[in-house]
Structures are given as structure tokens and as C-alpha cells.
């Protein structure tokens, strides 16, 4: 169910309904706060708690106008180190490098799993179990640890993104390398293809769709990893740095804008992965 032309009408109606529901929500959430502020005699250039609910400095839910101003303030100038674009770029780059790293290491593991039953018996249960574990909890420690060994800058963030993406990628690749049916493999045998040739010409291409399915699942997770890694150390850029700064300064509008920006980055990254997939596997679709 993607954004197709036929969906645009209903999507617009739903969006309009959401906006209409949002306004009363702003009033309900902010009204008591505005009332209290007025009772305390705060100086605000608005009349009555209803109007002030839309211009609180620290609203529970920011009003649409505040959100737009916030987006405008944080989006521009494009190359400012305290604006979103350059920070989102770094976080996105870390995530993508992490995914590439995960593909590399995951590939080695997947080959091991496919070639050796002994390796599979010894390691696979732990890889599967690790999928149900909140491995993100390791991120704060890993960043500090990597920092101790001199790994700093964007690299530790990419490593943690890779670490989180690694497990789904490994399992997806192993599944993909096993996916060619016995008919195809028999055909390769009649061609007198070597194991390596079969691997290169049959198993590897067959595993690509599985790899990209795994990527699409793990992109969101890798992005979480990169953001948490940025938060956990002294960082000079990245959405994670902006998030922790904003949360500490409790700039409510800022956290909302960052939420929207991170969501946009997540969607963009998944789209990027899809784009690479179409590039690498042109025979599908």
C-alpha cells in the first residue's frame, strides 16, 4: 500500500481530518497550562486562555503555527551546524555506511552458515536469539568502549548501526543463498559448473532480494542505533546530538520538529535502499 495516485484523494481527506482533530487536541492539552499561566499573571500578548493555548512558550502540544515557525527556524540556513539538514545528512550517512558494513560481515557469516552445518548448529541459535534481544541497550556502552580504543568521530556510530543491522541481514542472506531450487542447482551441475561458479552465478543473485528485504527491515533499526550512538558520547553533529540537546533544554517545539525530521530521514533512507535495490536487481519487478 504505497502512495499511489488512486490513494491521494483518500490520503488528503485523512490528512485534513487529522488536522481538524489536531486543533481541538492542542486546545485540550494546552488550555489548563495557559489558564494557570494567566492566573499567575504571566505577560503574554494574547487574550484569554483559549488564544494563549496557541502561543505558549512551552506547550504540551505545539500549535500548527508554532510547528511551522519551528521547522522554518531549524531548517535554515542549510549548511548551519545547528540546522537540521547537515545533521540529518551525517546521521543518514552513518546509517548507510553501517548498512554496508553489516552487509559485508553478514555476508561472511551467511556463507559460513550455508557452507558448514557445524557452524550453523553452533552459531545460528544465538543469532536468532539475538533478534529478540534489545541489543540497542549495548549502544551506550559500545560507544564509550570504542572511544577508549581511539575509535571516534562518525565511525563508532556506523559500527553500532552495522551491529544492529547485522543480525537480520545475516539471516536474510543465509535464507537467500539457500533459496535456489534443486532444479536450478541440478542444471548448473549438468553444465559442470564448479561450486564457486554456482555460488557466483546462482546463489549470489538469488540472495539479493532477500538481502534487500532484510535491509528494509533493519534500516529503521540501524537509524535508531546511529541516533543513540550520537547521544551517548560527545558528538558535534547528528540528529542524536540535536535530540539530546533539545531534550535537555526542553525545547518542546524543537523536539517535535526533530521527530518529524527523523521520520522524514527514516522514510528517505528506506526509499534509498529501495532505489539501490532496483539498481542492483533490475531483473526483478
Amino acid at each position: 500500500m504505497r502512495a499511489r495516485a488512486g490513494n491521494l484523494g483518500p490520503m488528503a481527506v485523512v490528512a485534513a481530518a487529522a488536522v481538524l482533530l489536531y486543533l481541538p487536541l492542542v486546545v485540550i492539552a494546552n488550555y489548563p497550562l495557559a489558564q494557570r499561566a494567566l492566573e499567575r499573571g504571566a505577560v503574554m500578548d494574547c487574550e484569554g486562555p483559549l488564544a494563549c493555548a496557541f502561543s505558549l512558550r512551552n506547550p504540551v502540544i505545539p500549535a500548527p503555527g508554532q510547528l511551522f515557525t519551528g521547522i522554518y527556524n531549524l531548517l535554515l540556513p542549510l549548511d548551519s551546524p545547528s540546522a537540521i539538514p547537515i545533521n540529518a545528512f551525517w546521521t543518514g550517512a552513518e546509517t548507510l555506511v553501517g548498512l554496508a558494513l553489516a552487509a559485508l560481515v553478514g555476508f561472511l557469516f551467511a556463507v559460513g552458515l550455508v557452507l558448514s552445518r557445524a557452524f550453523e548448529l553452533s552459531v545460528l541459535p544465538w543469532i536468532v536469539a539475538s533478534q529478540t534481544v534489545p541489543i540497542i541497550a549495548l549502544a551506550p556502552m559500545l560507544v564509550v568502549l570504542l572511544g577508549q580504543y581511539g575509535v571516534q568521530g562518525w565511525l563508532p556510530k556506523a559500527i553500532i548501526a552495522a551491529y544492529i543491522a547485522f543480525f537480520p541481514v545475516t539471516i536474510g542472506l543465509a535464507k537467500g543463498l539457500r533459496s535456489p531450487d534443486s532444479l536450478t542447482l541440478d542444471l548448473m551441475k549438468t553444465y559442470r559448473a564448479t561450486t564457486f561458479q554456482t555460488f557466483l552465478k546462482v546463489r549470489l543473485p538469488a540472495s539479493l532480494p532477500y538481502l534487500f528485504t532484510a535491509f528494509r527491515i533493519s534500516t529503521a533499526a540501524a537509524l535508531i542505533g546511529a541516533i543513540i550512538a550520537e547521544m551517548s558520547t560527545i558528538s558535534f553533529y547528528g540528529l542524536g546530538k540535536m535530540l539530546s540537546e533539545n531534550a535537555r533544554a526542553s525545547d518542546v517545539v524543537g523536539t517535535w520538529v526533530l521527530m518529524i525530521a527523523s521520520a522524514a530521514l527514516g522514510i528517505l533512507l528506506v526509499a534509498c535502499v529501495g532505489w539501490v535495490e532496483r539498481l542492483v536487481t533490475p531483473w526483478r519487478r
Binding site: 484523494g9 483518500p10 558448514s116 529478540t132 534489545p134 541497550a137 535508531i224 527523523s262 527514516g266
Partner: protein
Amino acid sequence: MATLGSSLAGTTRAEGGGPPLSAVLALAAGQAFLLLFVLLWWERTDIAAPAWQLGLYLATLVAAFGLSRLAGWIAEHPAGPVVRFLPAAFTMILTLLAAEALLRAYQVPAGLIPTPTEVLTVLWQARDVLLQDTFQTFVMEAVIGFLIGVGVALPVSLLIARSGFLQRGMMPYAAAFSSIPIPALAPVFVHMFGLDWQSKAAVVAVTVFFPVVVNVVRGLLEIDPRLLDLMRSYAASDRQIFAKARVPNALPFFFNALKLGTTLAMIGAIVGEFFGATGKGLGFRIQIEAGRFGFDIVWAAIIVASTLGIAWFGLVAWLERRFTAWHVSLRE
């Protein structure tokens, strides 16, 4: 001939009832050496001599070699689930033993990488604090948020599945919303619902909500048209079609979302606590202790969170087997 010979030899050994003796011996000897070193160095605080270090690497290699031979033998012979799990169990034991021995041999400070036994000791010593953290994170945040998220998602997905307009209008948004990274969601909710468990439960509920909606709607709609035709030929009413065809069809999708949801719920609760908590919770503990190099507590908290995560996942998987035993993927 060679393969025939080895396979014959394999069968005779299997009839003899045991795995290759050399493999078992290598595994046992390697692990015994590692264990011996750990016991020798239990109280010592000096860095082991290079000969010892070399011995440890060799012992690890020998044990790993024995393990791989043993695993290869088990893989080729029929064995019960317990025996088939043995290689994995030994992998874990060997990894922990080697880590313990090497960390002690190089005297890596506990503030950097604690040894497994140090972690277990702290796990026991700090059990009161960790129990309190676990209650906050698991029961109050993850489980309550999970139940709220699933509870709201089910009626919403029924509604969406009934209306073509809502499908076209809402499902693209659901996909977009599920790609919001949790750490970006957390600060907003922490401000809205306060520092206590409510904000984290809200984060968990939202992260669990979208996968459940997406999957259940798919499950209700992606149904074999022949099945619907069959139901119609039985003159089944809409209600009957829904209860007897669509709901069973959606169950495997639903359980998949639930399994995904257990992991997301643990992540949501832990990550949510990174952005503000009331001084308890596993995520809070991890963040605070990682900042001041208390990695033994961090590891202990991770062990607790992982165990709970696996147990919860196992519970949902068990429910899945119980309720969808008829499904292709679970049939023998």
C-alpha cells in the same frame, strides 16, 4: 570410494554410540586449560607471561576445533533437540571461558570490559536495584504499553479492513509512521506524559500499534479468493465469512506482528528511558552506568533485559503454535 569409506566409518562409529573421541578430547582439554588458568589467576592481579597468553589462544583454538568437529558429527547424525542444542551451548560456554581467561591474562580493568564472573557477581549483588528497574521497565512500561498498543490496534485494523476508503487513505500513513525512529519519539512523549512510566508506555504503545495494524489489515484482506468463493457457495453470511475465513487467515499475520512487537516494546521502553526517567528502569541504569564506566552493571542490566526479551518472545511463539497449529509454516 573415499566418500563411501568415510560414510561407512561414520556409520560404524554411530553404531558404536559416540562422537569422534578426538573431538571430545580436544574440546574438553581446551576448556579445562582455560578453566585451570581462570582458577590460577582468580586472586592474582599481574599480567600473565606471554607463554601463558599463547597457551590460552592455543587452548581456545583447540577447543574451537574440537567443537566444530563435534558439531559436524552431530549435524550428520539423527539426534534429539537437546543433543542438537549442545554445540550452541558449548559455543556459549567456550566464548565465556575464553573471555574470562583472556581478560584476566591481560588484566583488562573492570571499568573497561568486566569479566563474565564479575558481571554475574554484580548481577547478584545489585539484584534489589535491578529487580526494581526490571519491574519499572518490563511490567509498567513494556507490557502495559504493549497491551494498550495491541488493544487499540485491533479495532482500528478491523475498521480499516472494512472500508476501502480508509485502506487507501490510512495505510500509506501507517507505513510512514512506523519509520519514525523511537529515540525521536521519546522526547516528545516524555514531555507530554512526564518522566514516570506513563510516557514510556505511550512510546511502546505507539511503536507496537503500527506493525499490528499493518499486519492485521493485510491478514484480513490478503485471503485466497477461492476460499471466499467456497464460503459463498456454502451460503455463508458476511459474519460467518469474517469469523471462519478472514480471522483465521489473519491470525498468523497477527502473531508475526506480536512477535515483532515484543522486541519493539523492549527497545521502546529502554530507549525511552534514555530521555528521562524517575531514577529507575533498566534503560536509565544502562545510560547512567555507561557514562561512569560501571560496565559490570550495564552488562548485568543487559542480561536481565535480554532474558526477559527472549522469554516474552518465547511466550508469544508458544501462543502462536497453540492457536495457529494448522498453518503451513508450523505443520510437520
